[in-house]
Symmetry: C2
Subunit: 432 residues, 2 copies
């Protein structure tokens, strides 16, 4: 999907460059205190020699650019609109890059995240959750009234949810209906979503009687299909498409300009592409909305193993963009070393960080992290086990790959974007 | 220890009340956008009816006050100076409350945390880590030069570390020596720290030849004693005290006004109190510095089980101060429910959150969370298993207890301090 005039008008984003660098942002050079982010970026400091302190998370400029381009190509090739899940990075500047790379809009998970996106001028937001919080709905109604170009879609997955939404939106004096899609659950025991097609119809009936809501499609998340394999995931996606066709046939989408059918995390977007290619002609054009978000940084663990590109290597390869640099602060014996990065700095929910390279404190040279394994994390330390071939001393920096972009981004509020030679070209602000 | 004139002069803290409430702070009322934190606090809003959005973490005003007072009493009773570990909360306003409750100063783990404390006027900082980062040491040297009242102590645990510190401080033109304590490791296979007394002496020798450093004592962390039990922890603490006595006898503390002996996490401070009471008379007064930090919020899991007050109930009881409120967004069947709080919102490294109470969406009444168990966390959802007696619907709020203060605080940047009746009296800003 090409960007259109609802995209790219984020004058609010320029405020990010005016943010002051100070004690709030770990890892950044203490001697940059008081500069703006824009001024610091313009200095083009080197990550290793420019006064950065450890630990510091680096995001590869080249890998991010590559990943943005690859998913643009992928979604275009497969005729998919793209609303990458912004919960991964919660970085408005990355959202803007995603839109410049053709994204239709941004997916988010909770109302707070929608506020972050709206504060930075984003106008197409898919909230992949039911929204029954009266205070958040009051805010949403005001946003929709204030900005006629703001397009918002969220899930409904219960009659009770529809009732709560409608009541809150009425009380808020909503001036235009909120677009909703019925969420089809990914199976028995899966996460949120309506379990059966009959219940989906009941929820859609409830929406039809709620003047503050408008049913615009169906959606779900194939990543939660129990015992997921290609067959089960394809089968569930076909249920989702069949539900859209059934709703359409029943006249539930009458009068729409566009019908939304959405799925797609970061592990099965090849299956989404396959099945969404089979969507039959409906009574209005279909917005086939893919929501994968982890690709922007990719990783060296969970998604490295699960990415669909492993099944379709001819379509490309994502590149892991994170490297966490920490410093060895203790080397008490030949089998142990400790760095100054811990649970506050690194993802640890799916895998531990993996030591990749060592930067020598004496001469700045880099070597592979041979014989070095991260075996645990304390709050502020990583535990490293070292075998005899490990060449590691107090003061050396250890560069580590991470597993799970979502729990990596959320530990850093201002992340250097670093070129291969170490030059920091920009800083990515996150809001969690 | 009573507060003295080095304490409580934190004019920088008043800036916290001037912070603007906006999209950066999840959970806060959208209609408070643009107010200052001080103005919002003055409104005395109710957490449940005042426009807060879910998920929202609440910190009990009464429990925090109780815990602050209890540890003041405890440390005073046992003749201990207190430098609570600030890494737990990273909240300058809580640091200030800790100092007002008699704390000697604040312990921190990494240089970035020291910058946060210094930016808020804290003048006594114990860095419980070796510091070999040249950029951070340059910043530290400048701070020590600029403020003669700034007292800073950190670990050394290797000759190599001493060499790196000295080189960096010389290059930075340090004008007064940095106080260091030799860290005694808690045993074979434990975390950082020198493994043997002979190696401790070698590190102390290295400090003696480094003009930029001054040896002021010994320290360590009994929380990492392998297979910790009261006997092993007491034995290690006696090693620490013996090391101090040996160093003193060898004249290593000659000329000091005060000798620092420090230990104490949140699981064994009773043992620290026992053993530090036995510290013999040395050549200068001994600053017996306890560093426990988790007490300020306490918890409903890890530290509830491990707190020393379980062994000495006659000395008091800490009260868990956190309650995470999330909203049920999906109730797909009688056995499952999902709330909108996940890994981004709750500690999950030691235990999952525990459902405690349900607030009914219909009438605001509260009931015990009977038959409701949190069985997993996604990034933005909690998975709840519900038994037949569970009374739970979409829209209800679930109040959950958390396990591990450190990984609870670090997911929230502005935390409502809430009285028992729901009135929010203040907001605690964290900097991670």
């Amino acid at each position: 999907m090409a960007a259109d005039n609802a995209v790219g008008q984020h004058t609010e984003l320029t405020q990010l460059a005016d943010e002051r660098v100070d004690f709030r942002f770990k890892g950044l050079p203490p001697d940059a205190d008081g500069l703006t982010v824009g001024e610091l970026a313009a200095q083009g400091r080197n990550l290793f020699t420019g006064g950065f302190t450890t630990p510091v998370l680096a995001l590869s400029a080249e890998c991010v650019a590559h990943n943005l381009a690859l998913m643009e190509t992928y979604s275009t090739r497969h005729g998919l609109a793209f609303a990458p899940h912004g919960k991964t990075s919660m970085a408005p500047e990355l959202f803007a890059r995603q839109e410049r790379h053709g994204a239709w809009g941004i997916t988010l998970a909770v109302p707070h995240q929608v506020r972050v996106a709206r504060a930075h001028g984003f106008r197409r937001i898919f909230l992949a959750n039911e929204l029954v919080d009266a205070a958040a709905l009051r805010w949403l109604a005001a946003e929709l009234t204030a900005d006629p170009e703001f397009r918002f879609v969220c899930y409904v997955d219960s009659e009770r949810g529809v009732e709560l939404m409608d009541a809150a939106l009425r009380e808020a004096g909503a001036t235009r209906p909120v677009d909703v899609v019925v969420e089809l659950g990914a199976g028995d025991g899966a996460r949120t979503g309506v379990r059966t097609e009959a219940e989906c119809a009941a929820v859609a009936d409830a929406v039809a009687t709620a003047p503050t809501l408008r049913l615009t499609g169906v959606a779900g998340y194939e990543g939660e299909v129990p015992q997921a394999d290609p067959e089960r995931v394809h089968a569930w996606l076909r249920r989702l498409v069949a539900l859209a066709a059934e709703f359409d046939k029943a006249g539930r989408f009458a009068g729409l300009d566009e019908i939304v059918v959405s799925a797609g995390g970061s592990a099965w977007f090849d299956a989404v592409a396959d099945v969404f290619a089979e969507i039959p002609e409906l009574s209005a054009p279909v917005l086939k909305l893919l929501r994968s978000g982890a690709y922007v940084s990719h990783d060296d663990g969970h998604y490295k193993e699960l990415t669909p590109f492993n099944r379709v290597p001819e379509e490309g390869t994502l590149q892991p963009a994170f490297r966490l640099w920490a410093q060895v602060v203790s080397r008490p014996n030949p089998e142990q070393a400790f760095t100054n990065a811990g649970k506050r700095d690194a993802a640890y929910d799916l895998h531990l960080p993996a030591a990749q390279v060592v930067r020598d404190a004496r001469d700045g040279s880099q070597r592979p992290a041979t014989g070095i394994e991260v075996t645990g994390l304390s709050d502020q330390h990583a535990w490293l086990r070292t075998s005899p071939e490990a060449d590691l001393e107090v003061g050396d920096w250890v560069g580590m790959g991470l597993s799970h972009p979502c729990t990596s981004f959320d530990k850093w509020q201002l992340i250097p974007l670093v070129e291969a030679d170490g030059t920091v070209t920009d800083y990515i602000r996150t809001y969690f």
